[in-house]
């Protein structure tokens, strides 16, 4: 008989590694999917995935069943993703390759959208449409990007996103409205 989440968590809290792995495998597709769509990079997504579950592993002893396990897990996922900028591989690579005194250097690794002047026809028939869309989504602020990913790509309800981000539904709506507005501004040459 398959154990429910509560039983698995109790077992994991007692140090049962198999129970913890079983718990991971129940939810890890969703975590990886969010990480992939948020970071748009497989290596970064795998790092985010690992970071999330290491935090879950460290914190599971303190989990007291006051919320659903999935709510707690996705709250950690969004938090880890939102702090991703400061731990990204770009950041680490730059700290090795570039002098810290370089005033031009910024830790922000967000790619700027580069619209190369292609006509809408060229774009719609070419392979760079996906890249332009990705770059536009990447240019959003972390919270706008996160709410946008959770809503449009993962299909969560605004109420669920508010729970994950620890904020009010109104705040989530604001992030979504702003994200849409910014994407329209960036992508209008492509679809208008």
């Amino acid at each position: 008989m398959q154990l429910n989440d509560t039983d698995l968590i109790i077992q994991a809290q007692k140090g049962n590694q198999n129970a913890f792995e079983e718990l991971v495998y129940r939810y890890d597709r969703n975590v990886l999917s969010i990480a992939l769509k948020y970071s748009n990079n497989e290596d970064d997504a795998k790092d985010l995935y690992q970071e999330v579950f290491i935090r879950v592993y460290r914190g599971i002893k303190n989990f007291r069943f006051q919320s659903e396990f999935s709510t707690w897990l996705f709250r950690i996922t969004t938090n880890v993703c939102l702090t991703y900028k400061s731990r990204s591989k770009e950041h680490l690579k730059v700290s090795i390759d570039k002098d810290f005194d370089d005033e031009e250097h910024e830790f922000n690794t967000t790619k700027e959208l580069v619209y190369d002047g292609s006509t809408p026809e060229e774009i719609s028939s070419g392979a760079n449409l996906g890249e332009i869309v990705n770059a536009a989504v990447e240019s959003l602020s972390p919270k706008q990007r996160m709410t946008f990913v959770l809503k449009h790509y993962e299909g969560y309800k605004i109420r669920e996103i508010a729970e994950m981000l620890n904020c009010k539904e109104g705040t989530v709506k604001k992030y979504l409205f702003d994200a849409t507005k910014n994407l329209r501004k960036k992508l209008s040459p492509v679809y208008a």
């Binding site: 495998y25 597709r29 290491i54 950041h91 090795i96 810290f100 449009h152 790509y153 679809y191």
Partner: protein
């Protein structure tokens, strides 16, 4: 209802988040407002364009690779915990119960100071060399860089060329004001990722200054993550103390409520209650 409110309803309608009565109101408005009809078409086009990026399922290979890496990381996490626990247990058995807690705090502090001292001394001996120049792509790979995890993409040298990836790390000596965003980025990284609780504790304390400090927004997010997930109550306590210095907002309120309902340490629950009251 004002025109702008209809525009918001329009977006919520596309998100599939409208109540039925709001949907009726919007439909009625769209019949008489050309501007909103154009807006609706425009947003539909945008969402259609972006929906092309929706991926059905996670690639099984990527998932397998992520699970494999996680298993390795968990093994390392467990072995670190075992070492820490066995050292702590063997020391604690010499002390009567009431002294254990006082000793735990002192031990963490001493370990943190020692490691901080060791790291500081090491880094001061290793000066950061200049950045790579255009002519020599590997100028920055000097003797103070440690190279690991060399993986070959092409090891066949028959055409005179090989290709591989590797991890390169170098000691960095960084000195600066705690208001500096680069300093904050490194400390934020350390408070989230350092395996040693003393180092995580020191990273948080380094940012907890008496003078007014401008914090990067990432610092607060990281503190929230630490408060919710760090295994060490001392680290969680310091993170909570520092977070309480930030302007109060919804995220902080939710974090404090989380601590009150979830944290196993009564002292932390009391501190969260006081933070919420203040």
């Amino acid at each position: 209802m004002k025109h702008n409110e209809y525009k918001q309803l329009l977006q919520l309608s596309l998100f599939g988040e409208l109540k039925s009565e709001e949907q009726v109101k919007l439909k009625e408005h769209l019949l008489i407002c050309e501007e909103c009809r154009t807006e609706l078409e425009d947003q539909k086009n945008l969402l259609e364009l972006i929906s092309g990026k929706k991926k059905a399922a996670v690639d099984e290979e990527v998932l397998s690779a992520a699970r494999y890496q996680l298993r390795g990381a968990l093994r390392s996490e467990r072995s670190n915990q075992n070492i820490f626990n066995s050292v702590a247990d063997s020391i604690f058995q010499f002390f009567p119960s009431p002294l254990k807690f006082a000793f735990a705090g002192a031990a963490i502090l001493i370990i943190g100071v020692l490691i901080g001292g060791i790291l500081f001394n090491q880094s001061s001996q290793n000066e950061f060399i200049g950045q790579q120049n255009g002519d020599n792509r590997f100028a920055s790979l000097s003797e103070d860089i440690s190279i690991s995890e060399v993986r070959f993409i092409d090891s066949d040298a028959s055409d005179g060329e090989v290709e591989f990836t590797f991890q390169a790390s170098r000691p960095v000596h960084l000195k600066g004001n705690v208001n500096d965003s680069q300093i904050q980025s490194v400390l934020t990284y350390a408070m989230l990722n350092e395996q040693n609780p003393g180092s995580r504790l020191n990273s948080i304390n380094a940012m907890d200054t008496e003078t007014p400090t401008q914090y990067d927004s990432d610092v607060k997010n990281a503190l929230i993550t630490v408060i919710m997930t760090d295994e060490n109550p001392g680290v969680r306590r310091e993170a909570l103390k520092l977070m309480n210095k930030f302007p109060y907002d919804e995220a902080m309120k939710q974090t404090l409520l989380y601590v009150i309902t979830n944290d196993t340490v009564s002292g932390l629950r009391i501190e969260a209650l006081i933070g919420l009251k203040d």
